[in-house]
């Protein structure tokens, strides 16, 4: 008699996720028992494990598992790569950061790896329940990460705010999902698409309400206005490596489910959500860019810039076309590099007694630390979207797909806000290059941060000059879907 109840090959698609869980457990174990060496060991384990998983997700076999609940395809694997890049870079950065700030190493790394598990699950979710599972796993870990920094009262406030508002958003998401489930009888995204295309449901207001609530919750996760209010405070309050991580990993995962649910779950409703999202995208760019103009803290400015960039990335999703999605994917990858780079410079600048996060701290940096100033300048130009940096390529692709989908006015709005953004990004360059230094800033390039900066610079310049293969990858990923 065949007693095998579980077919182990069925687990093959989730191997990377399982491996990551093991890494997280290993980190906790080392943190508890490894004694003195843990300081060295833990970041290494995270980085090495991250690299292995990066290889695994990049070479993933495409298919489905658990009856379509878990999908591994080009789309998922692209987002997973972005998330893993975020994890690896954040781990490398923390190696530098903890020299100036006391950061509990074990908790930091294990929580980050666990949140990465959540993100990977989100990217592969073919079912609303799996999606929620991943989302919560990610969110809970990130709430803790934000509050990890004991000394700073801002951190506690940020964590509390993020937790409360995030919990609220999750509740809205669940409510929306339950409405959709009630009307279609399934939580499988592909089946929802089949069922909702049949006549009656298309005009059902309850389904629209469910969809609307899900959109609202996703908007919260990726910081789209008017659901962005948590972002500046949380980004400013969180320890800088966590902020950098949040602006890359969770955001990419958020966009992954955003795209998956809307484009493969509700394609028939594109007329409604496309218009809605185009309004939201414009609002987001407006709020992000205009508010960033008046910031004196660079960290807070980058928080508003993260909001604005979520608006740009939304341009791809709202097209509802494969081309649009692949432009969002490319953009998020590029954004990961340039944003990580900018935050790495912020971390580089901070010292135990002084965070050096304001514009005034950057005065005359070109004179005292030409290398750091030069890199920051490249990242700022890339965030503005000036060629030949990668930021331009990403923005170009987004604009191109939004124009192809017929959103001309949205695109015109996007370029106007994008030129407004030039003002505050260039202000950083102005302070660094065109003012005299007020005090000496001692900068210490540790190996971790140097690797992050090198990778970011390579990404920003490399993807700017030779974007061909990345774009082909992103465009090809959607063909399999």
């Amino acid at each position: 008699m065949d007693t095998a109840i579980v077919s182990w090959t069925a687990f093959e698609p989730i191997l990377p996720e399982m491996f990551l869980v093991c890494i997280a457990l290993a980190i906790i174990g080392f943190d508890l028992f490894a004694g003195k060496q843990r300081e060295q060991l833990i970041p290494w384990i995270t980085v090495l494990g991250g690299l292995i998983v990066l290889g695994m997700v990049a070479g993933e076999k495409y298919g489905q598992a658990f009856d379509g609940m878990f999908i591994t395809d080009g789309y998922a694997s692209f987002f997973k790569v972005v998330c893993m890049i975020g994890v690896i870079m954040a781990a490398l950065m923390s190696e530098h950061f903890r020299r100036s700030e006391a950061l509990p190493l074990g908790e930091y790394n294990s929580l980050m790896v666990l949140s990465a598990v959540g993100m990977l699950i989100m990217a592969s979710a073919g079912d609303l329940m799996v999606l929620y599972l991943g989302l919560e796993l990610m969110a809970l870990s990130v709430y803790c990460l934000v509050g990890l920094h004991h000394g700073d009262p801002k951190t506690g406030e940020a964590a509390m705010k993020y937790f409360l508002m995030g919990g609220f958003a999750s509740a809205i998401l669940l409510y929306g999902m339950s409405l959709v489930y009630g009307l279609t009888g399934t939580t499988n995204i592909a089946k929802i698409a089949q069922l909702s295309s049949s006549g009656q449901l298309l005009t059902n207001p309850a389904l629209m309400a469910g969809l609307g609530m899900m959109i609202a919750a996703f908007c919260f996760k990726v910081a789209i206005a008017p659901f962005h209010f948590w972002t500046p405070d949380v980004y400013e309050g969180a320890p800088t490596p966590v902020t950098a991580f949040m602006s890359v990993g969770p955001k990419a995962a958020g966009f992954a489910v955003f795209g998956r649910v809307l484009v493969s779950g509700f394609p028939q409703f594109h007329d409604s959500w496309g218009t809605l999202l185009s309004v939201l995208a414009l609002l987001t760019m407006a709020i992000g860019n205009i508010t960033a103009l008046s910031q004196v803290s660079i960290k807070r400015m980058l928080a508003y810039s993260a909001i604005a960039h979520a608006g740009y990335a939304l341009l791809g999703v709202l097209c509802g076309t494969p081309e649009g999605l692949s432009s969002t994917m490319s953009y998020l990858l590029i954004y990961a590099f340039m944003n990580m780079g900018a935050f790495a410079i912020l971390i580089l600048m901070s010292s135990p007694d002084n965070h050096r996060e304001t514009l005034d701290d950057f005065k005359g940096l070109a004179k005292t630390n030409p290398a750091a100033a030069f890199m920051m300048m490249i990242f700022m130009f890339s965030l503005t979207g000036i060629p030949p940096t990668a930021g331009f390529m990403g923005k170009f692709y987004l604009l191109k797909s939004a124009l192809a989908a017929g959103y001309t006015m949205t695109v015109i709005g996007a370029v106007i806000f994008s030129s407004i953004s030039a003002y505050f990004y260039l202000r950083v360059v102005r302070y660094m290059y065109m003012s005299d230094p007020e005090h000496e800033v001692a900068i210490n390039f540790t190996p971790g941060i140097s690797v992050v900066l090198g990778l970011s610079l390579l990404g920003v310049i490399g993807l700017g000059l030779f974007p061909g293969s990345m774009i082909a990858q992103a465009a090809g990923a959607l063909l399999g879907q």
Binding site: I386, L403, I416, A422, L426, V429, Y433
Partner: protein, 503 residues
Amino acid sequence: MSVPLLSTLTFFPVLGGLSLLLVKKEEVQTIKIMALVISLVEILLAVPLFFLFDKTTSHMQFTEFHSWIPTFNINYSMGIDGISVLFILLSALITTLSISVSWEAIQTKVKEFFIAILILEGMMIGVFCALDFFLFYIFWEAMLIPMFLIIGIWGGPNRLYATVKFFLYTLVGSLLMLIGIITLYAQGGHTFDILKLAEHSFPIGLQKTLFWAFFAAFAVKVPMWPVHTWLPDAHTEAPTAGSVILAGILIKMGAYGFLRFSMPILPDATQAMMVPMLVLSLIGIIYGAIICLSQTDLKRLIAYSSVSHMGFVTLGIYALNQQSIEGGILQMINHGVVTGALFLSIGMVYERTHTRVIADYGGLSSTMPVFGSFFLFFTLASVGLPGTNGFIGEFLILLGSFINRPWVAFFAATGLILGAWYMLWLYQRIFFNPVNKKVVGLPELTAREICTLLPMVALIFWIGLYPNAMLGFMHESVRHLIEQVYGTGVTQTASQVSAMLMH
């Protein structure tokens, strides 16, 4: 061609500039010499273009083609024709001169300055070589970065305001053009290839929309009235080298954009918008000239005179016939030479007096007679005295526009009179008049400075006395351009007239 000459010209200065990174920043002299040598080598590399260029065809020459982003059908495609070839030579020359004039003027961050100038040179040459609209846009925008830094770091007291204004004006215009480029791509058979886009015919409504999208980028750069306001600030605050490059090359790119993109790709809109463009050009000519009369700052005066002179250029381009367009292109070169030379001279005297206020000068010809005679050549070329290059360009433009629209030529001619007024009056106030005590005992030009100015004087008289040396490059390409705008056959008579005039 087996040697990728245009790529070499584009990337040699960039690599050369980056090679300066290897030199220690204390070794200022080495850095300066290296920069000068790199720019001289660049001129040598550009010389073959002058001799190998085939003047009998309007086809693109020295072409290079490599696939770049295959998903979007974006290619690395380079090539030049009679319209662009001269600008490459001019860019190489002007960069060298501006490196030479910065020899003493730049005292801080010397290494970074020369790196920025050399990278800027590469980008400028790239703009003139690119045959793929996307590639063009990359060079066009990438140029902003070094220029932003040059004005912002080494500029005058009000440099921050000026450089940000310059950057934002150009960026807004360029981004609107980017939307236009993407629309062209979507409607024109999914290609960014300029030559293929020119063969494609677009509906007139779309053409008009795109025309204004391109106008946003090109008119800002030219600069045409009413989007010229960044120019006086940028020119005034930029270091001498920056002003020279701005006046000499950067603002030519706007007019080049009209010639290379707006006209061949959007011929119907070009015809339809001819009169509005002529009127804007006229306003620019007269407005710029009148403003010049009330300027108290030397550099600002020359900056406004650029607005006026570039008005002539766009007037020539949009009068849309063989003479006027050739005149327009020649006037672009002339303006690059003459205004470049004026800014060089002002830079030299500014190094001595540290003032740009016209009232601080007076009687300079008694203390610096050699300088006085150089400046006189440039002044006369600027007002268009026969025998100098300015005369040929303005004459062709007026002739061409008179054939099409006599009233336009009438108003444009008033700009000439005003031009003579403000330039000669400026000369009088600086060089004659009672000697101001601020200019007493100023040292005469050094050998380096004379060597910097001499090529400009030579060009002024060379073009002035034998314009066909330049115009010969253009005939075929301009004829082809007019064919593209009007369709074939129309231009026969016009080119005959031109042939009679020129030979």
